[in-house]
Amino acid sequence: MALELYGKTVSSRLLLGTARYPSPAILAEAVRRSKTEIVTVSLRRETAGGKAGGAFFQLIRDLGVHVLPNTAGCHSTREAVLTAQMAREVFGTNWIKLEVIGNHDTLQPNVFELVEAAKILNADGFEVFPYTTDDLVVGQRLLAAGCRVLMPWCAPIGSAMGPQNLPALKSMRAEFPDVPLIVDAGIGRPSHATVVMELGYDAVLLNTAVASAGDPAAMAEAFARAIEAGHMAREAGMLEPRDMAVPSTPVIGKGVFA
């Protein structure tokens, strides 16, 4: 079944970042092969009189995907709100991936400023995708602030460690059954993505694991398949693990030789 995010429907459950690819052509190929319909982008100081940004803007437009601008690198509410406003000016979308970083080493969100910024942006007509921790109470506050999607981390950005706290991710799924939940940050390999999709997450956002792979386009497709497999398995209903063996072959009708 398709996924709906702030009124837009997508069939791919992979959101792809656009940073760190070896070349624009490889980025474009990775996007095409992954079949992603949403890419994240950023805003930075223009140094080439508009030409550098213009070339990248054209590349993104040619991909024909939804654009999710981010506020990466912002460390305060004020900075994040201004960056979001500037992103809306550039990309002409109300979507914003809201990041307010609170720690230099872990790039952990500053959840207090995040909630504050989310309140301001939601009131200003933005559709906020908050990059948050896996904390339930923060999730509740973000929803109360008007967010209709949550994006918990599973490990620090770019770390490739994979899900570090499965019980927390499970609780979040159980607590917010009707809210689209997207795991953002920390996914390193396709099996990590499958695990979170099997937990019932709606989508996965990644960047470095694809962009820094030996063959980014092939890795993008590998992730797309892994995400689809995890989602399909969740929908199909999985066995719960048990401690003792259960014979899979029927016991009744077995030959007696003793």
Binding site: G17, L27, V41, E46, G49, G54, F56, F57, E89
Partner: protein, 65 residues
């Protein structure tokens, strides 16, 4: 007058923000501008007069995750 554009302080002669962008060869519908930490919309640039010491940010689309 002294203006700081994207972190670099320069002696520049520009009446309004639109003039300044033209003078510095900035062009493109994809640019976003802020003066002293406040967004200045594209259509407001010509009416936004600059004064000594203003800090101007000119941002454009870049790769992001």
């Amino acid at each position: 007058m002294k203006l700081t554009v994207n972190g670099e302080t320069q002696e520049l002669d520009a009446g309004n923000l639109a003039d300044l962008l033209a003078k510095l060869d900035y062009e493109g519908e994809w640019l976003a501008t802020a003066v002293n930490g406040e967004l200045v919309h594209r259509e407001e640039r010509a009416a936004h007069f600059l004064k000594e010491g203003d800090r101007i940010e000119v941002l454009s689309p870049m790769q992001g995750g």
